[in-house]
Subunit: 346 residues, 2 copies
């Protein structure tokens, strides 16, 4: 594959340049075809860069693009969109819009990132709303779940579009010719569920040749690995994701308590530590860091706000893969094929 | 407290009398004020009873009530309601309606149990729909979550009623004078969420003296123990519960894999086994077995379909406590106080 250029919002997230800059250098070392543009306060970025050994880091593939403002983590999306035209987030997205970069990554305010990305890049023809998709671990590897919070109310058509987009993503990213797609519901029987979910099932059943729709799935199917893609509205997806995060934290806490409780606990903890460390690593949400905003005319990746250097590098990798595969164009083509929409390349 | 009589659907669940009968005998031994009525196939129940030592089990507080039919686990609720007037489930609920029993417990088909309970017992004045409430473990003890699947679509008024009922349940069952109540949402900010959730927040904020409403909570707050009661619609609650079950299973599976993967794994597993066993026990959903159908004119408790003997005994205990505290009447009084509805005792 040819070179791919990615814009990074250097100021976003809880840690800003202190995480984004070293993550960028790590990614450049790992991927020889990668070019990066660090967007933000030039002085701060250069200061961060100066901490690393110049000869060992491949800076010829690294640019800095000045942006004088930044979006705060708690800033209302509408404010960030209207008032901060020179924010690092906005400038990074502008670089995708202009075609200078094939994707952008930000660890900033999710609502603002979505609002700006939608405004600048626009949704693809035939897609009403972008969805946030994230890869969760499962007993069979991983599962792409969408939407995870962009849309609290979804119609059947929205869910149908999410299914289509998720299916394309899994095909391209996981090299699956025919990924299975399930609709998240409160039971497997056709009579169960809310009206939009039941109607979405009908829409998906009507096009069996285009999507490998396997029917309703339930909450536990996420981690069972029943499907390659699981579709739900953003309210349900967000609750499922955050409930999982909370449960993992509680289990880790309880495990520590149990080890402390017993006289042999210290010994057992010592013996089990390397094993449990691996386990916690497998469950670490940072390991899968990088949520995609699917349905836009460009690749936008959201990193966890408090991502580590390694986690932010992973988000860069996700952006690189989606840019190389040109996911937005694959979605455009599939939608055109499905609905007969004629449109120009994105 | 005086004696309390509870009807048990002996035929319900995956195991029927082979679990319900020994669980009943255990409960009778544990609670000297308890009386139980086993409802179902008399021959089968007696056969099961004959396996236990007569002199050691307190059978003077045990009755058998014949019911010739049973509701199948996959039977449509409407069919069960219309066609099976002599099912063990229906007869158990009838015993609550007639006042012969203060509560009933069934491990049978959830949808059928809800449909029959609603039809026979009716909802309380001022309550539009019953909700399923369940106690989940949290870092601070436990949290009552409702609704867990009875209502896939909820209005703001339904959510408000759930909050009121959950608050009363926590007050009575946990002896908390002023339990905290949170509304499950996708963020804490007032602008976030679906319309019913935002409107429910307004309704709850308008009556601060009656409910200790603490605002929006997110998925991870369930296990953090942020609130004593968490309210959501049945779709979201069901997904959160089942996602949690699936995640726990995946973690247990992964832990076993990790222990197997390493040369010292067997040793570590041996050392850590008693500790991890305690941990798994704390997370076991059976430990908290017994979901209440709140909002009916009577106490109805749903046991997990594949509950163990111990777990079914726990569901009997939940029924006993709610019958002793007369939760339906407490809800009736609070609603009357809130809305000025005058009604007779339930």
């Amino acid at each position: 594959m040819g070179a791919v250029s990615i814009a990074l919002d250097a100021m976003g997230g809880d840690h800003g340049p202190s995480v984004v800059v070293p993550a960028a250098l790590d990614a450049l070392k790992a991927y020889p075809n990668l070019k990066l543009v660090l967007v933000g306060d030039k002085a701060e970025i250069q200061n961060e860069l100066s901490k690393f050994n110049h000869t060992k880091t491949p800076r010829e593939r690294l640019q800095i693009q000045e942006a004088k403002e930044m979006v705060e983590m708690d800033e209302p999306p509408a404010m960030a969109l209207r008032k901060k035209r020179d924010s690092s987030m906005r400038v990074a997205i502008d670089l995708v819009k202009s075609g200078e970069c094939g994707a952008c990554v930000s660890a900033g305010n999710t609502g603002a990132l979505m609002a700006i990305a939608r405004f600048v890049l626009k949704t693809l023809p035939g897609i009403d709303r972008p969805a946030i998709v994230y890869s969760l671990p499962s007993l069979k590897g991983h599962v792409h779940v969408l939407d995870l919070g962009a849309n609290v109310d979804c119609t059947a058509e929205h869910l149908f579009q999410f299914a289509l987009m998720g299916s394309i993503l899994a095909t391209e990213v996981d090299n699956l010719p025919n990924p299975s797609v399930g609709l998240l519901n409160v039971g497997r029987e056709a009579i169960k569920g809310s009206e939009p979910v039941k109607r979405a099932a009908e829409l998906l059943t009507d096009m069996p040749d285009k999507i490998n729709y396997i029917g309703f799935v339930e909450g536990d199917d996420i981690y069972k690995g029943t499907a390659n893609v699981i579709v739900c509205d953003g309210f349900v997806g967000n609750v499922a994701l955050k409930t999982s995060e909370g449960l993992i934290k509680m289990i880790v806490h309880m495990a520590k308590e149990e080890f402390k409780k017993h006289w042999y606990g210290k010994l057992a903890a010592l013996a089990a530590a390397p094993v449990l460390k691996n386990l916690v690593k497998r469950l670490d949400p940072n390991r899968h860091n990088g949520a995609s905003f699917l349905g836009l005319r460009g690749v936008v990746i959201k990193s966890h706000g408090n991502a580590s250097i390694k986690a932010f590098s992973h988000a860069i990798q996700v952006a690189m893969i989606e840019a190389e595969k040109n996911i937005p164009d694959k979605i455009r083509l599939k939608i055109a094929e499905r609905f007969g929409i004629v449109n120009h390349e994105v």
